[in-house]
Symmetry: C2
Subunit: 115 residues, 2 copies
């Protein structure tokens, strides 16, 4: 399995209803491969739909090189042209990011020095 080292960076992508999902998918895959977590922001049903399609497509780019991604959707209050809107934000990250953290915590616990 390819291990993706998070650099701690977060790339932000704003997706609209007119964003081509394949292009957005390419951007997601590129960032994830570089160890950059991706935050995708979408406002409105059309934009959310394009964002989800992009994530689904990017799985197809990343899966063959051993990277499985997951996404976590949340609400975000934003201001567009002076108006309050609710955006959907998708945090996209490698599936084993959480697993790796737990595994290394476990390994650390067992590395207690034996004197």
């Amino acid at each position: 399995m390819t291990h993706v080292q998070h650099t701690g960076e977060i790339g932000c992508l704003k997706v609209s209803s007119k964003s081509p999902p394949a292009s957005v998918a390419g951007a997601i895959a590129g960032m994830i491969k570089d160890g950059v977590a991706v935050d995708i922001q979408a406002v409105g049903a059309g934009a959310v739909n394009q964002a989800v399609k992009a994530i689904a497509i990017s799985r197809g780019f990343l899966s063959p090189i051993g990277i499985e991604i997951v996404c976590v959707p949340s609400f975000a209050d934003i201001v567009i042209d002076g108006e309050f809107r609710t955006a959907i934000r998708f945090a996209v990250e490698p599936r084993d990011a959480a697993a790796a953290a737990q595994v290394s915590a476990g390994a650390a616990a067992q590395e207690t020095p034996v004197e």
Copy 2:
């Protein structure tokens, strides 16, 4: 952290553009708490949007009891009224399902009997 034991069951939810996200969120949270993986199917931008909102809301139900969920979107070819449509399917599962598998594999490796 609450550990969710997967029962191996998968609950399927079909979400439409008219599905109330809070109700769907309650259904998702209930199944996840019962250790049932959830597959959500949505056809069309309106339905996908409601599904995403439902997943975001269900995070608010599960997070206080120590369960973090992630979702994995994919495409699915389905037939509705004799016509081929492309649905979006969201696999919703606890975040630590993958982590737990890796941790227990690691733990097993260290449980080599010392004679």
